[in-house]
Symmetry: C2
Subunit: 240 residues, 2 copies
DNA sequence: CGTGTCGTTGAGGTCGCTCAACACCAGTGG
DNA sequence: CCACTGGTGTTGAGCGACCTCAACGACACG
């Protein structure tokens, strides 16, 4: 089960990006495997002491934040190659919950050792900051979606972005197997589940998607872009 | 105009936190002052090449993201001691706009030199990650507000949080001098300006605030907490 | 088959948006 | 001194996108 970073398919997306072969071996010595988590199991909980960053190796996770009134806000969904836990670096306590959406496995990267190692490897140091920064950029886009977009655009933007992430993982970008429930998706989008359900129906009627429970096929990328509020340049709107 | 980090009042909040006196001098050699910006002037624009992180020294800034349809989303407001530019570390290009809300000054911290210096100073390295992580935590809270809170709660949460930041800066926490326009505030909260205006009126009628244009006085902190959706423990709601 | 979870659909209500008018203030120029 | 202007903030009326509530259908699991 334990494999080396070198042999890992996620190599280029992950921490090892842009470090040498020698250094890769040292990193391998730090990274620990972890027994797979089942659907619904927590990787860590808000308030827990921070020790490690986690890299999704297979499956998927959601991170959530609890309001003081007990509701949850889904902050993000995390696919293989993505790193979870950066919010905990601020004061060594996890600030959100991370939960497996399906049977999933992670690499456990003890931060103290990683930081120690990074001090001598500028490339790794840089990559760490880069990934933390990407988290910020991702959140900013999420914020823009929540603040300025209406329901239809939100779902379209989400599907497009998920498709893009699938492409980066060398999965078919038009065949989305949603790991999250409608409820979790709606929550992430700042909507209620009924609205999302109606949108899937509408998108199917428009010939943009083929929906079968959690299997979504994107039929018309150009129109999906339009629905996302980004009129594709090569396809003029019929109104003009 | 140019002052040292050592003499700076923001010392403890900023990058120098938890580094030694010697190291502080080295940091001083890196940091460059910059001529003050007037209200409306941009510190950097989205798409610009990233060279420096900026620390707000006086005044205040907003960061914004532009949608593809040309609208803006305000991502955050930045008070003295706060650091702007972390979103640019992902690929050395600024991913948002930063604009002065009033006459303001910043410290310019060239990142290449900072990173170089940080390699030999574990405390600084750690502090850099800490601040980046705080940015993530802040965005997560903003997201929760946008996703799960209604208008009244949003404004109350914002005012409470601003008051807290004032307290950290040793300013009176009940006397808020809002540097942003109603429009910018509404945008940040994911609302329209009319809604925010009505809320200020309502909060004043409720005896929670005293509002005079951009000068806001918090009259009743406990009730503001209630409006923020956090029933204060020592003050039971009159309904029970 | 019953039970529970999840997703879909319908009917009705409401919070916040849209649109429009007006108040307030500062700056400008006669 | 006042009129004029533009920017900013407030208020009112009406509407609509999304939420709420409720029922039902589909599927998994015992």
């Amino acid at each position: 089960m334990r494999r080396t970073c070198r042999a890992c398919a996620l190599h280029a997306l992950c921490l090892p990006a842009s470090i040498s072969a020698d250094e890769l071996n040292s990193l391998d010595a730090i990274v620990r495997a972890r027994r797979p988590l089942d659907r619904g199991q927590q990787l860590f909980a808000s308030g827990a002491r921070f020790q490690s960053l986690y890299v999704v190796r297979s499956g998927s996770f959601k991170t959530t934040l609890e309001t003081n009134s007990g509701e949850q806000q889904v902050l993000g969904f995390h696919l293989p190659g993505e790193i979870i836990g950066f919010d905990a670096l601020s004061d060594d306590v996890h600030r959100c919950n991370a939960e497996a959406l399906e049977r999933s496995s992670v690499c456990d990267v003890p931060f103290a050792q990683l930081d120690e190692f990074a001090s001598s490897v500028p490339g790794l140091r840089r990559q760490l900051m880069r990934i933390a920064s990407r988290e910020v950029v991702k959140d900013h886009e999420h914020l823009m979606m929540m603040g300025r977009k209406q329901a239809q655009e939100r779902l379209a933007i989400f599907l497009r972005s998920l498709s893009e992430r699938y492409r980066n993982l060398h999965r078919a970008p038009d065949l989305l197997e949603l790991p999250m429930s409608r409820h979790e998706l709606a929550n992430y989008l700042g909507l209620v589940v009924e609205t999302v359900s109606r949108l899937f129906t509408r998108f199917e009627e428009l010939g943009v998607l083929a929906v079968n429970r959690k299997q979504i096929r994107i039929v018309d990328f150009a129109r999906l872009d339009e629905l996302a509020g980004e009129p594709s340049p090569n396809l003029e709107s019929e109104a003009c």
